[in-house]
Symmetry: C2
Subunit: 323 residues, 2 copies
């Protein structure tokens, strides 16, 4: 089952989310309209709106609020993408040139602020204090995470604890909150809300770990990405961190990072090949599976609802993506 | 009475606001700490925190919440300054080089996001749905205003209605909300909240109009600002808009704007001198006085409190700034 068939039962719901976003952007002035619609049309799986809508079915079936929430969540996600791309100087997003590349950093700062403000306006209109509090805390961690990550590029002061915290702040918390607030807005009971948070959170942790494994095992030649691209760009992700515990590559990486910082040529081939020969990839798989198991345990605790099937499939899909 | 003696009775309260901001910034990572503390120390009158604290005295005297709110309001103000300076490429802020000039647009984008997120975290912690809703609406207008204004530089499609809307979005609304939420957080009655909003709003409208008049009548040679600097930079403010109704300078300004857009030399001396000879400055004074009268009327409706004296003085101070 691939991600497309996985999302199939909710295709119309996600189309509706896209439609609501499109209507919103279409009403804006031209300098907002063009780049936001382009970003919307460039794709993205709408995982956060999906999780929000799935989770909302565990409460009352209010027709409107979960969609508004799903839109607010996707807006904050888009906002963070736009500002993050400025901060880490990314050239491509969803296969298209990033907004700051197509326009300017100034323009992209503004677009991010617009998406942020729109999201906030929807959220506060929902008049749900605790939801807003959770949301703002997530935003705080989300917006702070990118800079810290970029500032720590080519630095050795990283640890597995730091790595997991970064995953939590940049990915897992928003997925968890998408579930939690979906349930909250439709008045599901508190324990269901907490369990759904756990599900989304663990899904997010696992997703990011798998992404970091695939960076080593499945280089994307279409995007011109070599194996170990994260390491080449100065990021110590989980496979490297595990490998560093097993073999003595600390000084070699430190030296390569120093060369990169000094704009000298740095050949990472040998160290990447060494990492791939360790147990690091396998250990990373285990760690991602640990989070998937926790996601499954959370699901088991939830009341029986037809939506649980899709939620199980999401775990299964990530589990298969592992290998 | 100058602005310093005016703020004197609340000096300790405003010092406490600064202290709370300083404590917050001091805990942040270095790349946040240094520029935010520098921006804090560079000055600013803390008008918004003052209005918030003054207004809070119209309700219960809770020791803590009004200060937290005042801090959140000043944070959002600082955030908008930092992103606005990126958008309109400003070099100086409070007499110091702007953050994006000292560092980069990327860094300033991040600092603005940090200030925004901190503000939001405080606001949602207060758990006051309507306050959050008002706040988010203000933020939306605030963040959108700067870009529109910059995009409309050197364009003739401006009108008094547009000018007033810009003042409302960029200045008046946040001053109004500072008062309104100060009263709201301390449980003042609804009519007091609304009247205080009116007071702050009108004060803000008047303040901005006076600023735009002074740009023509009191050039600041210390800052190297000539008379009519706003017009030279492509902004049609109220004196110019009134003058355009009285004398035929439309084509002359249009031509000068076109030359500026084409990076050709453009001599605004003659048109600025013509504007100053019309009744436009006087009419602008009248408009600012209209808002000050409305602010006074609002004050008269408020319950008697010792804080009203300072609030009257604020109107009087602005009224004198007129001439």
């Amino acid at each position: 089952m691939n991600s497309l068939t996985l999302f199939e039962p909710f295709k119309n719901d996600l189309k509706k989310v896209d439609q609501l976003l499109l209507e919103r952007f279409s009403k804006a002035i031209d300098s907002i309209k063009t780049p936001t619609i382009q970003l919307l049309n460039a794709g993205g799986k709408r995982t956060r709106p999906l999780l929000c809508l799935l989770s909302s079915r565990f409460g009352d079936t209010d027709a409107k609020k979960p969609f508004e929430l799903a839109v607010a969540i996707e807006l904050i996600h888009m906002s963070s993408l736009v500002h993050d791309d400025i901060i880490d100087r990314a050239s491509l997003r969803r296969g298209q040139p990033t907004i700051h590349k197509q326009h300017t950093n100034r323009h992209a700062t503004y677009i991010g602020d617009y998406l942020f403000a729109e999201s906030l306006a929807i959220m506060t209109k929902l008049k749900h204090s605790f939801a807003n509090h959770q949301f703002s805390f997530t935003i705080k961690k989300l917006s702070m995470g990118e800079w810290t990550q970029y500032q720590n590029r080519y630095r050795m002061n990283d640890s597995i604890r730091m790595y997991l915290r970064k995953n939590r702040d940049k990915t897992a918390r928003l997925l968890g909150v998408s579930c939690q607030l979906g349930a909250m807005i439709s008045n599901a009971d508190k324990s269901t809300q907490a369990t759904l948070f756990q599900y989304g959170y663990c899904l997010g942790m696992s997703y990011q770990i798998i992404d970091d494994i695939l960076d080593f095992t499945k280089p994307n030649h279409v995007l011109g990405k070599e194996s170990g691209q994260d390491l080449i760009e100065g990021y110590l992700t989980i496979p490297t961190l595990y490998a560093m515990k097993e073999i003595d590559i600390y000084s070699e990486i430190e030296n390569l990072f120093q060369r990169s910082l000094n704009h000298q040529s740095a050949d990472f081939d040998s160290v990447i090949s060494q990492i791939k020969q360790t147990n690091a990839i396998q250990q990373s798989f285990k760690l991602s599976q640990h989070y998937l198991d926790r996601a499954l345990n959370a699901l088991k605790k939830l009341p029986d609802r037809p939506e649980k099937e899709t939620m199980y499939h999401l775990v299964g899909y990530l589990s298969k993506r592992n290998h």
